[in-house]
Amino acid sequence: MVLRSLCVLRAQAAASLSGLPAALLPGGSGLDLPGSGLVLRSLSTDVFQNLALEDWIHDNVDLHSRSILLLWRNSAAVVVGRHQNPWQECDLRLMRRSGVPVARRRSGGGTVFHDPGNLNLTFFSSRKNYDRARNLRVVTGALRALRPGIDVRATDRFDILLDGHYKISGTAAKLGRTAAYHHCTLLCSADRPLLASLLRPTCHGIHSNATASLPAPVQNLMDHDPSLTPESITRQLAQQYLAEFGSGGLPVVPVQPSDPAFGGIDRAAAALRGWDWTHGRTPRFSVDTALELADGAAAATASVHLEVKAGRVEACRLAVAPEWLPGGPPARLAARLLGARFCPSEAAAVAEAFLRAEGGGATGARLGARLGDLCDKMVALM
């Protein structure tokens, strides 16, 4: 039974590989492709695998005389730019509850929401041929071909606006040593309510020089015209791209990132999925905010100052009115948080150990409840 499954898998892998020109693979045969444009479509819906696939193509494919368009879609994810602060960009708590991961890409730019209703396009080229305006003309050209008269325009920030007002596409790019990629989103039928609720930051009081996002009103192309589905747009995009960049009649090639031909993608995807990259790569920031404390009968406010570097608490100051809590415990909690990740699960573990240590001996019920409340509010901050 196992043997048969393996055979089936191998056959499937071979089938998906057979459409790939040999020249696409590392140490390519130097096969002369007719024309210079190639369209690939990823079969993965995992944002980390697809980001790793992007990096792989960028690093391994000879793009001197060839251009590639990679089309990909992911299950729900929030993708932040390389130098952004996820705490400042989205509701991380809601995302954890909803099972929506945060990903950090290697290109610059702002935060976007991905789901199967959003189409991602990556235009690979040599650095010399890096031309975002040309790439976006492929997109607007494809949309106009599908729906003549549609008002879609690229702005000077390389967003694409529908009806001069709604953002349907955002752009980001990465320039490497000899090659470059420009990728953009395209909202076809994304879950807009989910997008709106997730892209609402909940951690307040952040001071940071991380690159900020520019929020914009959005719309789905399918709301404008139901025939503008991800599938119909994909087909037209491929045609438009090959017409612009030259193809010689090559088909759209499906690629499976987990295929062993793409060596190291799983490892790269795992690194991209890791907390150290997604959160730890955040530029240093500080948080200055107030915690609303309560014990059921009365209320108080605590002021919090935190400094976070590489995702870990580098400094922490907690000031609580002495009539609410004596100075000792808050200071001890602050000290325990040093070095911990700015992350609720780690903070909760620290808080638990702290409460156990404080809980023994003379702590009364009210003091214990107030300490517990302080801990909960600290954890909720992250």
């Binding site: 290109s107 610059g108 890096y130 790019a173 320039l175 020089n209």
Partner: protein, 202 residues
């Protein structure tokens, strides 16, 4: 401006490491102390090993060459810039090199909005990604021109990343690092050679 269609030959490769943080004066002083300690440690390590006879002469040879190299560097107090084909410059002052990007590079990059630079103490290999500059055009990676250790990071760039555009050879410097293999400098271009190189790209 039509900066979409320019020739992009800026070879700034980067692996995002840590970002520029506001390093306080104390940390900078500590870093300098570390750098100085590294320099003195280098001298002591280059001493001959007495345990293996055949190696003594080789070690002595090495030491002599290094001393000569060091002496010639310090006596020149070289401030001449050397360039990589990735449009970075290195300015050597004793055993420390200051690294930045050239005017050609900053022009091609466009307005820099963020500098992602390594931490002090980070060890870099020649040609290894050490950071990224994010500009309105793209995130552009930075490649280390030399092998060595980061001793200083330009903290002014945290608040003022546009210094890279405005004063790429002076206040817009990126990092300072130790120079582990001075011979790597021989492979870099001087001012005249770099000018010629840029012209060949246009």
């Amino acid at each position: 401006m039509g900066w979409c269609a320019e020739v992009m030959r800026v070879h700034l490769a980067v692996k995002p490491l840590c970002t520029v943080q506001s390093v306080d004066r104390h940390s900078v002083k500590m870093a300098m102390r570390v750098a100085l300690r590294c320099v003195s440690a280098n001298f002591s390590h280059k001493g001959p090993r007495l345990s293996h006879l055949p190696q003594i002469s080789a070690a002595l040879q090495l030491r002599r060459t290094d001393l000569t190299r060091t002496l010639s560097t310090t006596s020149q107090l070289s401030t001449a810039l050397k360039f990589t084909d990735k449009h970075e410059w290195v300015q050597v002052d004793g055993k420390v090199g200051t690294v930045g990007i050239s005017n050609f590079a900053q022009e091609a990059l466009g307005d820099v909005v963020y500098c992602g630079l390594p931490e002090i103490g980070q060890k870099l290999e020649n040609m290894e990604e050490f950071g990224a500059l994010e500009s309105v055009k793209a995130a552009s990676e930075l490649y280390s021109p030399l092998t060595g250790e980061v001793t200083e990071v330009n903290t002014d760039l945290a608040e003022n990343p546009s210094l890279v555009n405005k004063a790429c050879y002076k206040e817009g410097w990126l990092i300072k690092m130790t120079i582990e293999n001075p011979s790597e400098l021989d492979g870099l271009m001087d001012d005249a050679a770099y000018e010629k190189f840029i012209k060949s790209l246009e």
